[in-house]
Amino acid sequence: MSDESASAGETDTDASALGDAIGIWAPRGNEVRIVAGSAIILALFPFIFSRMPVVSDLLQGYQSLATLILIWGIFALGFDLLLGYTGLLSFGHAAFWGGAAYATGVFSQQVSGSPILMVAAGTLFAVLLAWFLGFLSLRRGGIYFAILTLAFAQMMFYMSSSPLAFITGGENGFTGVETGELFGMFALESELPSVLGLLLGTWLYAFVAIITVLCIAFAYRILQSPYGMVFRAIRENEQRAEFVGLNVWRYRLMSFILSGLFAGIAGSLFTIHGTYVPLSSLYWTESGEVVIMTVLGGTGSLFGPMIGAGVYLYVENIVSGGHPVDFIAPFWHLILGLVFVVTIWMFPRGIWGFVRDVRDMITGGDE
């Protein structure tokens, strides 16, 4: 999205001037450019994807898919904090995504239908769950961690499928979602006024997009901070990080909780977007999907996983419907599997890494 070194000096001066005024909230590094850039792209995205005359005909996109892409993008972004930056592969993130989705649904039915409160409730549930499950599964590294997270997530799935069916609706999923109006004024499905309606479409998209930008800013903040640096240090060499006196276990737990937080935000938005929680949102293949998105887009980058989410959902929803060519429709999942394997095999840095390589080739490298 931006050259990291090209204009760092200029933004630093901006930041320090601003920094005196607003203290610790001051933007750091390229934050202003990253956030502004993402905001602009997210503002144009639904128009280009679903309404722009020629392009949208080629893409066959639609408004609700644009929203869904952002939601999964947040999920993948959070997952990458864990996989790409801390180096832990979890196969149980469906627990946070689906758990938050259910919590949000139940909250909307029992307490309040305010979208903001719903997201807060779902996210809080996911964070607490991540804290608990992280505490248990992080005792073991490597494959044990992957299998333990998988086991706990499956436990949640079976919990909601029968013993807790009186709350969750079991096999039928949770159908009682009652989303209210944003700030008590704007129905989420209604169009935004005038030019905003043309660009962004619905209030729902605007709501999701604003949260997405905040998530990007938050993730960037974490990764730029010394705290985020420790995550990378642990990924590179756990032992060395331990030797310089860092409490590796604590940082890992925090990284797990943070990625649970993003999964929770995304899961809550998923409920608001679909007004329904399917039981499959807790199944382990859902964890697999976010793994695929993240790896496909490129682990260890801020925007890679979001691009991966976009590509995945595009194939899942548009290509599977027979666009652009009819005969590949039944093979869409197979194609994703093949692309995924090829990516791990030959381009471990994913689409984003590939883009950067091409850019470096053209500009002759900027490091």
Binding site: I143, L148, M155, P163
Partner: protein, 313 residues
């Protein structure tokens, strides 16, 4: 009397379910123990075994999928179950050899996470291939007519369990015993065990490890294939069965202890019995109980019940 019969039925059902887990877990466990390779595609091998067994044993009518659209609505050799049981292990053994050569070998020196990811991707590819060609609806894979009723043995006729389930238990016992003897009491097994302990030293002694390793992978795959054939007729057959059985199979390995055949057997029996008992008593909690059991064992005894040390991570 009837209570006794209920109890025996539950226990036998549990043993039979455990037998399927054991067949998968032994393969996974020896692969993980010797090759240090995490195979998330083990469920896919089970899937291949089931479909291969189905197509060899019976002639089926396809109702969906590409093959049906292309005009192959009748498919299968219809040779019967015994030929299927003999041919399938060889087929899946060869698949296993190919997989070792073309997937495991290149990923040997990559991190665990990459191994999990690539085999997970392969599992999706296999599942989706079957879905595309044979359709996603369940295919009829019934138990053979000669094994549907209870066995005609004096005491067992009273127990409402098909003889097929006894065969599953018997076949598993024989195969696991063979693998155990192979690993513990042959020269091949000696090399494999030595390679597990210290591969560098073994190679310095002039023994090539690549050949025993590829055979170990093939054996593990063949066991998964057998599990597919014997387990297929007990459950609906559709492309997702591989991924569904992978998770309990993996848990069986880790609660038993990685690399230990006895551990895999113990884990499988424990898992199968727990599942059967819970299904018969608190069926809503059956699956939850299973995972809770696994989680508790792993937290209390991280190396597994019979494991010596954990695989380096």
């Amino acid at each position: 009397m009837s209570f006794h019969i209920d109890v025996i039925t539950v226990l036998l059902n549990g043993l039979q379910q455990g037998a399927i887990y054991i067949l998968l877990a032994v393969g996974l466990s020896i692969i993980l123990g010797t090759l240090k390779f995490v195979n998330f595609a083990h469920g896919a091998l089970y899937l291949i075994g089931t479909y291969a067994g189905l197509l060899i044993a019976l002639e089926i009518n396809l109702t969906s999928g590409q093959l049906q659209e292309w005009g192959f609505s009748q498919l299968g050799l219809g040779l019967g179950y015994i030929p299927a049981l003999i041919i399938v292990p060889f087929v899946v053994f060869v698949v296993g050899l190919a997989m070792e050569r073309f997937v495991v070998e290149p990923f040997k020196d990559r991190p665990d996470t990459d191994q999990i990811l690539v085999t997970f991707g392969l599992a999706i590819i296999v599942q989706e291939l079957f879905r595309a060609f044979f359709g996603s609806s369940s295919l009829p894979f019934s138990q053979p007519a000669w094994a549907q009723g209870p066995p005609q043995v004096p005491f067992l006729t009273a127990i409402p369990i098909s003889s097929w389930r006894y065969y599953v238990i018997g076949i598993t016992a024989v195969l696991v015993l063979i693998v155990y003897l192979l690993v513990e009491f042959t020269d091949f097994g000696l090399i494999v065990r030595a390679g597990t302990r210290d591969p560098e030293m073994v190679e310095l002694l002039g023994i090539r490890l690549s050949r025993p390793y590829i055979v170990v992978f093939g054996i593990g795959a063949a066991l998964a294939g057998v599990a597919g054939v014997v387990g297929g007729p007990l459950n609906p057959v559709n492309p997702t069965i591989g991924n569904e059985i992978l998770v309990p199979a993996f848990l069986t390995v880790v609660i038993g202890g990685v690399g230990s055949i006895a551990g895999a057997v113990l884990g499988g029996v424990l898992f199968g019995l727990t599942q059967a008992i819970l299904v018969a008593t608190y069926s809503a909690w059956a699956q939850v109980g299973l995972y809770a059991l696994a989680a508790v064992i792993l937290l209390v005894r991280p190396q597994g019940l019979l494991g010596e040390a954990e695989v380096a991570s």
